[in-house]
């Protein structure tokens, strides 16, 4: 029943919070012929021990100890954002065979470039956990959308997000999770924080997809930004000559929605993604041309499983590594959107506040 630990790749996990518990461990349980969990690190020893105990792995509170463990060949980084860059670099220097870093893989362009340099120097391949870029529905669309990247004039990216536990609790039994607090979106600084957090924590999932349709991604202007009730972001952007809107709203509802669209005069692509956490198969992509539509998916597995499969191929040398420059572009694009959108909403909210005084 258990494939030998000597014939599968040993995974070390930095951080044992909800993403590890509800996403990566359930995904790895579907890939037992390829991976086993060798060690889990968390700063909270009780969580580290408890989560490791679920999968028969070792545990530690020390990153150095995990990276020094020869049983760990592949490292996944699921720690808080501010530790990502340091940990990716340390894992590269430890000579691991491949690294999966949850998004964002750094918090500044300087950090990202440092990571790229270390990755090139050490030859350790890195992927970022932008799971939708690995989703079979997205990949099928990519294969069939023809010249849409050149012709699209409008990009829409919309998420209606119920509370994560609604899905986490069907994926696993989470033993710790951060609390969500209601915030005053009419305060300019709070609004700016909500938008920045929303872009870097939620929108960032599919900003690489947006960027794929915006060749002039450095020519970016925020036309408007607001925070819907109770929280989220609604941002209108001009990116090159593309009309882009990104929308995300946090609700208490049961009803999720996650849609990406790219539209030209003659072709429309719509991708409906399944919710994060649950193993609910891939996205479904619909490409329409006037009276005709082609539908791709849903396929049996989602982007998380696909990214782990790719990681296995990377670690065993069967797949070519991703161009780290592209990962840097994805990050700098996300940071640019977050910076400009949070500035725009701060200014707009301050004006509204002044007008109401």
């Amino acid at each position: 029943m258990n494939p030998s630990k000597t014939s599968t790749l040993g995974v070390g996990m930095l951080g044992a919070g909800p993403v590890t518990q509800a996403i990566h461990l359930p995904t790895l349980s579907r890939l037992r012929e390829v991976f086993h969990v060798a060690k889990i690190m968390d700063v909270d020893p009780q969580i580290a021990e408890s989560v490791a105990g679920r999968v028969g792995a070792g545990w530690t509170t020390s990153m150095d100890e995990l990276l020094a463990d020869e049983a760990v060949q592949v490292v996944v980084i699921c720690s808080p954002h501010q530790f990502h860059a340091e940990q990716v670099i340390a894992a590269c220097r430890a000579g691991k065979r491949a690294i999966l870093c949850e998004k964002p893989f750094a918090m500044s362009q300087a950090e990202a470039e440092q990571i790229a340099a270390v990755s090139r120097e050490t030859g350790v391949p890195i992927i970022v956990g932008a799971m939708h870029t690995f989703d079979p529905g997205w990949l099928a669309a990519k294969e069939h959308w023809g010249d849409l990247v050149e012709t699209a004039h409008t990009i829409r990216y919309s998420i209606v997000l119920p509370p994560n536990p609604r899905f986490e609790d069907f994926a696993t039994e989470v033993i710790t999770r951060p609390e969500r607090q209601r915030q005053n979106r009419h305060d300019p600084e709070v609004a700016a924080g909500i938008v920045r957090g929303g872009i870097m924590g939620l929108a960032i999932h599919d900003l690489p997809l947006v960027r794929a349709f915006c060749p002039d991604f450095t020519d970016l202007e925020v036309l408007s930004c607001q925070v819907p009730d109770p929280s989220g972001y609604l941002v209108n952007l001009r990116i090159g000559d593309r009309n882009v809107q990104i929308f995300g709203i946090n609700t208490e509802s049961w009803e999720p929605e996650w849609i990406f669209e790219a539209v030209s005069d003659t072709t429309s692509l719509r991708i409906d993604f399944t919710p994060s956490y649950v193993q609910a198969g891939s996205a479904t992509a619909t490409i329409s041309h006037g009276g005709e539509s082609e539908v791709y998916g849903p396929y049996a597995y989602n982007g998380y499983e696909a990214e782990w499969r790719y990681l296995a191929d990377l670690a065993s040398g069967k797949a070519a590594p991703l161009d780290v420059t592209e990962l840097i572009h994805d990050l700098t694009f996300a940071l640019d959107v977050a910076d400009k959108a949070s500035t725009a909403v701060r200014d707009a909210t301050a004006l509204t506040k002044e007008a109401s005084v």
Partner: protein
């Protein structure tokens, strides 16, 4: 017993408003006529439509249907229509779809100053954006609330995104995307923390139903579908108004919406 009213229309009105098809689908209520003195007159909304509507009333029309009107000064027409007691119905792309009226009470219960209304129209490439916006404003007015303030975040040959405020204080985002890739359609949605109302509409010429979905903690309900085109519903309304001897305030609403379009 239903009173049968004669209808006359111009070729332009026939073309943009599918008048012959609508009249054929209401054979007891309406009857086509080439007579200049028909009871109901259909007028296409291109330049000079308000003057043509006044002329129709002067010629004895008991009701006027204006199809997709362009922005125009309607003061004189309103005065004449009110004086003569003649209803002038504005037939735009979405507002008369029966699903709109069905959605209205549900939108009303979630329309407050914390609400965000998302409004989107997919229209054919090359469509006149002023006309697209007028039809969208009429839809929002009919389903939710009138738009009282509007500013474009962008407007170009591919569509627009505008930020707006509704009369009740809710915020709104209005989008138009011009493309021939998908059929013309319109959507409205309000998402509240635990509830949502969504309306999806096909173009005015099809009897495919609009869909209203109301959701909350107990689940989601699709309201009963009504397989009637927006054009046909508009003509039933005009017929009923004439039969009841009533007028309507479509022109006043149109004047407010047209002012928003021309100011921006």
């Amino acid at each position: 017993m239903t009173q049968q009213l004669t209808v006359t229309s111009s070729p332009e009105a026939d073309s943009t408003g599918a008048v012959p098809q609508v009249v054929a689908s209401l054979p007891v209520s309406l009857h086509p006529s080439d007579d200049g003195a028909a009871a109901l007159v259909a007028i296409a909304g291109d330049g000079g439509w308000a003057e043509r509507a006044i002329a129709a009333i002067s010629s004895g029309a008991r009701g006027v249907m204006v199809i997709s009107p362009s922005p125009a000064d309607v003061a004189a027409l309103r005065e004449r229509a009110n004086a003569q007691g003649v209803p002038v119905v504005i037939d735009t792309e979405w507002a008369h779809n029966p699903a709109v009226a069905a959605s209205a009470p549900h939108f009303a219960s979630h329309n407050d100053e914390n609400s965000l209304l998302e409004a989107r129209v997919n229209a054919p490439a090359g469509a006149d954006l002023d006309q697209v916006l007028l039809a969208q404003l009429a839809l929002i007015r009919a389903a939710v609330d009138p738009v009282v303030r509007l500013a474009y975040a962008r407007r170009n040959e591919h569509g627009y995104d505008a930020l707006a405020q509704l009369a009740g204080g809710a915020q709104a985002t209005l989008t138009a995307i011009l493309t021939n890739a998908i059929p013309a359609s319109a959507t409205l949605r309000i998402i509240k923390p635990r509830h949502a109302v969504a309306l999806g509409l096909p173009g005015a010429g099809t009897a495919a139903p609009g869909k209203v979905t109301v959701s909350g903690p107990e689940g989601a309900t699709l309201l009963p579908t009504l397989w009637e085109s927006a054009h046909r519903a508009a003509w039933r309304r005009l017929h009923d108004l004439v039969e009841a001897g009533q007028t309507c305030d479509d022109l006043a609403a149109f004047a407010e919406d047209a002012a928003l379009v021309t100011e921006n």
